[in-house]
Symmetry: C2
Subunit: 759 residues, 2 copies
């Protein structure tokens, strides 16, 4: 029992006894204290108990919310970030383990009820430190005339570290491919399906060639996969100044003088398309778990290497062939952006060689998992997680999030020491090996899947907390309203009164609904919670101001220039953004951890679904679907029914809520709502995607970063047009079946919201 | 609030107030009544509420249990059975729909809170009434010299009915196959894998031949499948006197004079190997659901026809070839039990023709689902179900169970009218189309799968309630103790004091542990609940006394002789067995519906698992497994850990139970236990069996009737020895992976029983 609780309850009881005693005094004079105590202790306990079980601590504890906000300290955040970014901390490195231990100790010191270091043995990958990867150019005598850098130029003293991992693409194999004299590489723009389609249209076949793609638009793993599927033998990835150095490439225009990327900045990153340890799909990588051979794992089979725009220039400027389409032209000065593959006249005897020396190895990676036991419902979980591993210093990704996690834990620890305790259990997770493919979180979810699906109220993710000043909270529609409620309580990180106001103003400027809420794409540790389990999740971060710079991610992402210096001087001076992130996290934890009735926004769910259905109309996909499946409109009808069921439930709940005094009824209603999103989890996964099981909101297969409504439909329709009649018939049957399945899922979801005893 | 409850609570409150008032009176004289009422109404309500939420009605309501027992009336049961068996009621027939409506009305009349007729459109199959199936024998001129019967000879007036379906095998296709002159059929004993192996050993290849198999030992669908897999072109099934007429085949030795089967008794039945509508695997057959084509459905492709032993004699006596192994010899007098396929010398110019005219058709079949809303936990379900459809009159199968269901509903209706109401919701189900493949229950479970998995405490099945006097209750080990507890309260159906005593004495005679409890095999509507969802289930029935007759099933099973007359005169004179079945059902409903803490026997679960592990040792399978997978012993270790976790939990629960006064804690503990068996559900099903997902207790693939521990291991090992090196390597990897998966499942299960906030 918390101090606050006891306070409230005891005074209610005192009031009751007082009333009685008062009445008695009026009639009979002063009672002895023993006569007051004759209300049986047992019954007193029952009254206290009911009050404890039904109290809505979120509404009641107004002061506490304000204290939480006030307790988040920017100098703590600064110190956390400094410590976390003092050395590189690649997944499963010595420093990564040290940080895991540091985080564990912080949880223990904060007075958490448990904290555990949870190891998994998982397949990771690394370059050979003694034998760096390279792209080289050779003249007619095969003499090497150029070699790419394998690490960033140290443009600021102290930024380099002997532990810094050389540039490489995670899981891309070792390889050595060389072009024939006069043959260069093929420029494939962003490496999207439509880019390769365009090349085909232009008569350029990438089979047998090395391709070069600029970063951006889609997940790098998709770029690599698309290239491999089309027979390319190697991939070079580069950061284009048009995306990473919008104000120029001169020293004064880039880091450390601005937040833009210098010419040797190379974006590291994984190429793995699935989630979790590649050797144990669907199952946790516990010590003795059965493992696939590497050959059986779904990993890329062609070498890949990222480079900076300085090195890219040397390669691209030698490419001849057709000019690239206008919108493929990037920002490297002096480069014509030809498509290749032939070299220009001047280099017709030159060849290009891509050599990588990466290797894969099973390594031990830790999660840290700590809990604050819930007072009323210890078996209901509100989780918060953040990964720990980085390609380098990871000052933004993920350490801005980790700094938040530690401060959030500290604040809760303060309150715990003062006697507060949440209604539900809070779980703090520091994930390992996220950068390789959400491995730590995925393995943990796979180990505890039933428990988590059964007990989790919400999963709150932070990854890169601070890469700009605009709150961005992609989430399950079930928690959109709650997140907005919270954002209205958190002070703004710029001049706005609240982060909500700042976000709304930002979206208003961009002609969006105000504020625009979105669903989750791929790319961080919420994925196994949301897309595998159907647990409502949110990713809390502050993004770049697109009204200022229209870039998709901060320029130094995954490069050697993502340093503490960058954060303190360019991205988050004063650490108010990370502070905002911590406050969002804290209040979201409290909202879901302390409300008697879980604050899900049920009606947002069908709204978001209907938006998706509308977008299918807009894109012409609905017409295609109706042509393929004459019963397609039944899906729309079932969504309408679901919408009606949801409204009816939400209305009933509004009527009930204030009068709900039966703790079991509160629990039953919560259980009903907690199951709602899980109804849309297909046990065997989406067609061809066993790891992605959320049939409504999950990333599309063709861009793992992007959110998609009805990912199964998107995937199945993707290449439908290009199929022959037989292929279309077969795919058509798959589409019919999937649409029928979706229709039934919405019927099930509506059924879940019926009165309990109606089946 | 129930009358009883209110009684208890109000007196407690009165006592409390009395104490207080008594104290006051002593000091201050007589208080006015208004001063008593000054205990705030709100607090009074809280005290009443807590008492209601935590009371264990199973323990408290001793008299009610006795009243339930007394209320079960044999004349009602007789009348129910008479009405149910007055006409044949094949699935989806007019009479089947009439009975559905009758049952629905009974639920309504009993005062249930809801009752619904729930239709599904499912694929069924039937013979052509105008063109009966036959096996004919033709002489050298192709003249037909013999033709099998297609319906039973009417040996008792009134047993025939124009609506009685002719003999056929469900889903077996129409077909017309004829042997060459001098070629007969091949006798394959019971049609088990080992029988076909034996034939191979004897140099007999069934490919291209019609085979004849006797009923018994395994599910008929397996016989047909085994034959088809080996290239047979048709199957004849017959009932052998050794199994169905142990006291002779003369009229005075068989029905209607005894319960043994006359010579024209033909066992109808399905041949479908999976569960649910063959056209919608994994999904409910709602009106507009996507359906496979018949060709895509997993249905048999060769014709099959059942016959009686009189007709079988005519065929078997003409078979030449080798003599059958000694233990293959059945009980038809004058038959040598040769294996064939050649005919005897005398018939060397004769041939045999199998013609079937079955067709398949999508038909509407109803379930009836009715509920009694729970007072405290309306969202927790205790379900009871029984199918309604029969191949004929179905007097034992399923109408003895349906008679029980109706009487059980009536008794609860009586109590409802007197103000009683269960803690949890009770759900009554009358399933349609069970005989074709558990179709009604499976489609319903598939429609409501999340809701049922989440909310169900137990599923109680009755099918054939009465086929003999011995209580038989295969069940999930989680409810073994509860079932025994209940059986100790139910009066014996013969001379025993309780049905428990009778069961124990019976097993003692058979040198079994006393009483022997077993897990569930396939074959009735508990399958989708248990094997697909992991919901603890029990099948309550009274079986034949094997000490008297060692037969696996009553002789008239699925034949035209399974009549009301048979039940009243031979199987259950006085209807005391169906009465015992109703009493078992009623008290099981109350036990799980009214106990505050669900009476699961947690420790029986690992005990049963360990028994299975021991049996693997005994059979030599453990040695094989260790040879295949060097880490096999980790599975045993994880079972040991699970055992320890279970004991610790059970012990803690024993300590807690009497002091548990927090309704949310009671609920949380129940939730924890309810999830336990579901941990063992593999989302994508057992290897190659998407519909069977229970990894621990489920039927083996090679006999759908039989219970199996670790069905995945059994299945994978089944044909391992016969594979070549490459095949063994591949199968070996599957085995390794499955054993590893099982190991992890036990770790998860142990984890589920930890303290709530420990992950």
């Amino acid at each position: 029992m918390s101090v606050n609780q006891k306070g409230v309850v005891m005074s209610a009881l005192a009031a009751a006894v007082g009333l009685l005693v008062g009445g008695l005094i009026g009639h009979f004079g002063t009672p002895t204290s023993s006569s007051i105590m004759t209300i049986p202790e047992e019954d007193q306990q029952k009254i206290i108990l009911v009050d404890k079980l039904v109290t809505d601590k979120w509404t009641k504890e107004v002061d506490l919310k304000q204290r939480m906000i006030n307790l988040v300290d920017t100098s703590n955040l600064r110190e956390n970030l400094r410590e976390l970014t003092s050395k590189p901390h690649l997944a499963a490195s010595e420093r990564d383990d040290e940080l895991a231990l540091l985080i564990h100790k912080r949880f223990v010191d904060a007075g958490f009820d448990s904290s555990d270091m949870v190891p998994y043995r998982v397949l990771l990958s690394a370059p050979d430190p003694a034998n760096p990867n390279s792209i080289t150019i050779h003249d007619k005598d095969d003499k090497e005339v150029f070699r790419t850098k394998y690490k960033e130029v140290e443009v600021r003293d102290g930024d380099d570290s002997p532990d810094f991992v050389h540039a490489f693409t995670g899981y891309a194999p070792a390889g050595d491919v060389k072009t024939a004299p006069g043959v260069g590489v093929i420029y494939v723009n962003y490496g999207r399906v439509e880019d390769f389609d365009k090349l085909k249209e232009l008569g350029i076949d990438v089979a047998g060639h090395i391709v070069i793609a600029r970063y951006g638009k889609i997940f790098r793993g998709n770029k690599l996969l698309h290239a491999e599927q089309r027979g390319a033998v190697g991939v070079i990835l580069f950061s284009d100044p048009k995306d990473v150095a919008l104000e120029g490439v001169q020293p004064q225009e880039v880091y450390p003088n601005t937040f833009w990327l210098p010419g040797s900045g190379m974006q590291r990153g994984t190429s793995y398309m699935l989630e979790g340890d590649p050797l144990t799909p669907g199952w946790p990588s516990t010590e003795h778990a059965y493992r696939l051979s590497e050959e059986e794992a779904q990993l890329p089979n062609i070498p890949c290497q990222p480079i900076g725009y300085d090195d890219a220039k040397v390669i691209l400027e030698k490419l001849g062939g057709q000019k690239a389409p206008e919108d493929w032209v990037g920002g490297i000065e002096g480069v014509a952006y030809n498509l290749g593959p032939q070299m220009t006249q001047e280099f017709q005897n030159h060849s290009i060689r891509l050599q990588t020396h990466n290797s894969r190895k099973v390594s031990r990676s830790y999660n840290v998992v700590a809990t604050i036991k819930g007072e009323v419902e210890p078996d209901r979980y509100v989780l918060i997680g953040n990964h720990r591993d980085a390609w380098g210093y990871g000052a933004a990704d993920p350490s801005s999030g980790t700094a938040q996690l530690l401060e959030t834990a500290r604040v809760l620890g303060e309150l715990l020491k003062q006697g507060w305790r949440p209604r539900r259990t809070l779980i703090f997770c520091s994930w390992g090996a996220e950068e390789y493919g959400l491995i730590g979180s995925t393995e943990w979810v796979q180990e505890h899947v039933e428990k988590l699906a059964e007990r989790s109220v919400v999963y709150i993710n932070t990854d890169t907390c601070a890469s700009g000043p605009i709150l961005n909270v992609p989430a399950s529609p079930l928690i959109w309203d709650a997140i907005q409620d919270v954002s209205k309580l958190v002070p703004g990180v710029r001049e706005g009164k609240t982060v909500y106001e700042e976000m709304a103003a930002y979206h208003a400027l961009r002609n969006k609904s105000s504020p625009e809420m979105t669903t989750l794409g791929g790319g961080s540790d919420y994925a196994p919670f949301s897309f595998y389990c159907g647990i409502p999740a949110v990713d809390i971060w502050f993004r770049n101001d697109k009204n200022k710079h229209d870039i998709s991610i901060y320029p130094s992402y995954h490069t050697g220039y993502e340093t503490f210096y960058l954060m303190e001087n360019h991205i988050d001076p004063g650490f108010r953004i990370i502070q905002g992130c911590s406050r969002m996290a804290l209040l979201t934890l409290k909202y879901f951890g302390d409300s008697a009735i879980i604050p899900y926004s049920l009606e947002r769910f069908p709204e978001a679904v209907k938006q998706t259905l509308e977008s299918l109309k807009g894109s012409g996909d609905r017409d295609k679907l109706v042509k393929i499946y004459e019963k397609y409109s039944l899906l729309e009808e079932s969504v309408d029914n679901f919408t009606a069921a949801t409204s009816a439930f939400a209305n009933k709940l509004k009527t009930l809520e204030s009068s709900l005094n039966d703790p079991i009824m509160i629990r039953a209603i919560n259980d009903q709502m907690m199951k709602l999103e899980q109804v849309f989890v297909l046990p065997a996964g989406l067609p061809g995607r066993p790891d992605t099981r959320h049939a409504i909101f999950a990333p599309s297969q063709f861009d793992s970063y992007a959110a998609s409504g009805f990912p199964g439909i998107t995937d199945l329709l993707y290449e439908y047009e290009g199929l022959d009649a037989g292929g279309q018939r077969k795919k058509g049957e798959e589409i019919k079946r999937h649409v029928s399945d979706l229709t039934i899922l919405f019927q099930r979801a509506a059924g879940l919201l019926k009165e309990f005893h109606f089946i």
